[in-house]
Amino acid sequence: MTDIGLPASIEAIRRVREDPYRLGHRPHGPEEPVEGTGQGGTGPAHKRILVGYGFWIFLLSDIVVFSCFFAAFAVQRDAIAGGPTIAQIVDVRRVAFETAALLLSSYTCMLSFAATNVRNLLWTQIFLVVTGLLGLVFVLLELQEFADLISRGITPQRSGMLTSFFGLVGLHGLHVTAGGLWLATMMAQLQVKGFRPEIVHRLICFNLFWHALDIVWIGIFTIVYLLGSGA
């Protein structure tokens, strides 16, 4: 399958804006539909669109996993079984630093992709390194938080609330760690092989993954930490 420079979906969006009524209704309109978008009359989409699209669907499913852990936290928030409450265990100061590191890493991740779009290997790599380091800072701060809690005897085995707290936050941390491993592998591949189409496709997926983790973290930061500290 062939690859294209710009995502054809951008072109499709432009046409939808200019003529909103053709959205999905007219595969055989007066104009020829855009090749490679996979919409209606044009035949299969380009590989690049397929990969991005499939990865979006994976991300949606991953967010469903998180939603279950969020639900568990909501159910068990008050199940403290005589142990500490959520307000007693959150340290908003540390979490503010964590959040800053993670959000900044999303920004640098986006910068790396801007460099990818102009095919600049050096800047892509530089921003990927920064992204990875900020992710590492985030994970280390989280580990410090966990170690601190556990040293005070606040373990997930203590109560239902702590179980779902450690489960939700830990699941996110696990995702960031896995993302870091992926990032390192991607950087090695990129260095050796350059901007081959399949490498760029994987970079798209990595970017989507990293930003999705940010979105999930916003949820955790708000629901677990901010609302928790106020409770």
Binding site: M1, G24, P27, H28, G38, G40, G41, T42, G43, P44, A45, I49, L50, Y53, G54, I57, F58, L60, S61, D62, V64, V65, C68, F69, A71, A72, V75, Q76, A79, I80, A81, P156, Q157, R158, S159, G160, M161, L162, T163, S164, F166, G167, L181, T185, Q189, K193, R196, E198, R202
Partner: protein, 670 residues
């Protein structure tokens, strides 16, 4: 060194699993030996195990599903005979073994029998019907299949190393927590289902992307065959709810392995949270199974009635209606939880409302037959048997959806009869109809029709003789999963049920015979044209079996029932469309990554089950190394030369021209 694993894990004291596993091991060794002696390994490795061809993967899925159906059926025979023999007595199965059997029966039938069959049909058919050459992510497709196979392997390993869960097919806590079930049985369940669930998710993502983004030119949404629509709906459900299963089982795993308190009945754990979460997956799951089954029937009824499907658009709307509403009914599995009248009412109404969508479909199928030229071939018999069976199953379902009635029938044999009524009558009948229907497409020859019809009648009658008594027993107060029975007045009905199982066994024998006879007579049953049933959708435009690239030239669809239009034109003009200009085709290369991943997934699962930590870590590292290694590959596709494409397609055209000529000689053409 070996964690909890020791020689005592092998059930030397229990003759039934021991003898069964000895036979299974001998059979497997025999098959492996035969393959080695006949030097089939290179063929198997290159053409099947590493294949990323969606048709091959679909066929392997179906093979796995059929094998597991037989395993699950063996469990069913044991359960029915045990209950018949254990009236005021112990029977022949001790309780802990009987409990494993009903757990294994449910788990295997749903997750390793029906699911692979349904996924197999989707894999095989969706690209063919959409007029494209493969699914969106062929290599991941192979990974998905092998992960499912890996899960099935772990379940079957539990037969002779250790034990399986004794908790029922959904391991409700707190029973499934380590406090009450310390053995490895639940761990086998957790890891097997977890691994195969990830495989299913991969296939779901694949099919959704394929249907939404990879249709041939002109195949707009409302020209897609209904099977593609139902596959899309089913796979959207997979993407939406399999993560819930993954999350729920992960939580139970954490409870069991590190003593957390998600679902325990101490320290703030919440067992009902498990029940809610698992059914938020579990109820959509039955629609994941039955929607593609509806799709299969929607292909068969028009073909064997010689008419387009009645109410195509309402069929699509009903499919999507079921897809959405199926996620709003889960609480009807535990009305007795005590959520209160308002909650129960909501879920009672939503459970009844979902029957409307199914009702629309039933009427559409009936009206498709109305006024048509109905041919009573084996696929059609299964389909008509389905309508009858499924309506009864649906009606008892609506009865169970009424909370006050459900309080009387909850967990009774009435419930058991109901869900077998819809799953056997819906999914299993569909699968057998589909196998009869598409077997010639997959293998190039038809199945013996007489034996196929015999199989249908045995299965249909056997089903009713088995399960009708269970409805009555349920209303008489018999609960499910009883290892022995203290009510002699239930004896006659339990005996009738065993007779039904006997009839079902005859059905299974007919099907095995049918396969053997058909393979023997394959030259006589050869499908030369590629269109043995006078089909209507694009898969029948290919030769049987289709070449690995499916279509020499991508079709250009100009209306609903794409292939029917092409065929009518050819018959009217008495010639095929002019020969297209052939071009070389790029196809994905075969890849061992799926097999490799599944191998390490199996090792990882086994290591986790037996607490062999070093092996689990080793397997994870090896899996990661393998992934990086395969990702390093530079060449992903190869080119099929234009001569090869032209040769294959000219052979197809020659067969069709010969068929047209034969038609006009017979004076069949206008």
């Amino acid at each position: 060194m070996f964690g909890k694993l020791s020689l005592s894990a092998i059930p030397f004291s229990q003759p039934i699993p021991l003898i069964t596993s000895a036979i299974v091991i001998l059979l497997v060794l025999g098959v492996l030996g035969l393959i080695t002696v006949k030097k089939w390994w290179p063929y198997l490795w290159h053409e099947w195990i590493t294949s990323v061809d969606h048709k091959r993967i679909g066929i392997m899925y179906c093979l796995l599903g059929v094998l597991m159906l037989i395993r699950g059926f063996a469990d069913a025979i044991m359960m029915r005979t045990q209950q018949a023999m254990a009236i005021e007595g112990p029977g022949y199965l001790p309780p802990e073994h009987y409990n494993q059997i009903f757990t294994a029966h449910g788990t295997i039938m749903i997750l390793f029998g029906a699911m692979p069959l349904v996924l197999g049909f989707m894999n095989f058919l969706v690209p063919l019907q959409l007029g494209v050459r493969d699914v969106a992510f062929p290599t991941f497709n192979s990974v998905g299949f092998w992960l499912t196979a890996s899960g099935a392997l772990l379940v079957n390993v539990s037969l002779f190393i250790g034990e399986f869960a004794r908790t029922g097919w959904l391991p409700y806590p707190p029973l499934s927590e380590t406090t009450y079930t310390p053995g490895v049985g639940v761990d086998y369940y957790l890891w097997a289902v977890q691994i195969s669930g990830i495989g299913t998710l991969i296939t779901g993502i694949n099919i959704v992307t394929t249907v939404l983004k990879m249709r041939c030119r002109g195949m707009s949404y409302l020209r897609m065959p209904v099977f593609c629509w139902t596959s899309l709906a089913s796979c959207m459900l997979i993407v939406a709810v399999f993560p819930i299963l993954t999350a729920t089982l992960a939580m139970l795993t954490l409870d069991r392995y590190v003593g957390w308190h998600y679902f325990t009945n101490t320290a703030g754990g919440n067992p009902m949270m498990f029940v809610n979460l698992i059914w938020a997956w579990g109820h959509p799951e039955v629609y994941i199974l039955v929607l593609p089954a509806f799709g299969i029937f929607s292909e068969i009824f028009p073909t064997f009635s010689g008419k387009p499907l009645f109410g195509y658009r309402s069929m699509v709307a009903a499919t999507l209606f079921i897809c959405v509403v199926s996620m709003m009914v889960w609480l009807h599995h535990f009305f007795t939880m005590g959520a209160g009248a308002a909650v129960n009412t909501f879920f009672g109404i939503s459970s009844s409302v979902i029957a409307v969508g199914t009702g629309v479909k039933i009427y559409n199928w009936i009206f498709t037959m109305y006024g048509g030229r109905v041919r009573f071939e084996a696929p059609m018999l299964w389909s008509m048997g389905f309508i009858f069976t499924f309506i009864i199953g649906g009606l008892t379902g609506v009865l169970l959806a009424v909370p006050p009635a459900d309080f009387l029938t909850h967990n009774s044999m009435f419930l058991v009869a109901h869900f077998h009524n819809v799953i056997v009558g819906g999914v299993v009948f569909a699968v057998f109809a589909g196998i009869e229907f598409w077997f010639p497409k997959a293998f190039g020859f038809r199945l013996h029709q007489g034996l196929g019809k015999a199989a249908f009648w045995f299965a249909f009658i056997g089903f009713w003789v088995t399960f009708a008594p269970l409805y009555v027993l349920g209303l008489m107060g018999m609960t499910r999963r009883l290892q022995h029975i203290n009510f002699p007045e239930w004896r006659p009905l339990l005996y009738v049920s065993v007779v039904g199982v006997g009839i079902l066994i005859l059905g299974v024998i007919s099907q095995i015979l049918q396969l053997a006879v058909s393979i023997r007579d394959r030259e006589k049953l050869r499908d030369v044209t590629g269109d043995p049933w006078d089909g209507r959708s694009l898969e029948w435009a290919t030769p049987s079996p289709p070449p690995f690239f499916n279509f020499a030239v991508m079709p250009n669809v100009e209306g609903e029932e794409a292939y029917w239009g092409i065929k009518l034109r050819a018959v009217e003009t008495q010639q095929l469309s002019p020969e297209p200009k052939y071009e070389p085709i790029e196809m994905p290369m075969h890849s061992p990554v799926g097999f490799y991943t599944a191998f390490f997934a199996s090792v990882f699962g086994f290591a986790m089950i037996w607490y062999i930590w070093w092996l689990a870590i080793l397997a994870l590292v090896a899996a990661y190394a393998g992934f990086a290694w395969f990702a390093w590959r530079d060449v992903h596709e190869f080119e099929v030369p234009v001569e090869e494409v032209a040769r294959v397609d000219r052979a197809r055209r020659a067969a069709r021209e010969a068929f047209l000529a034969r038609l006009s000689q017979q004076g069949a053409l206008p």
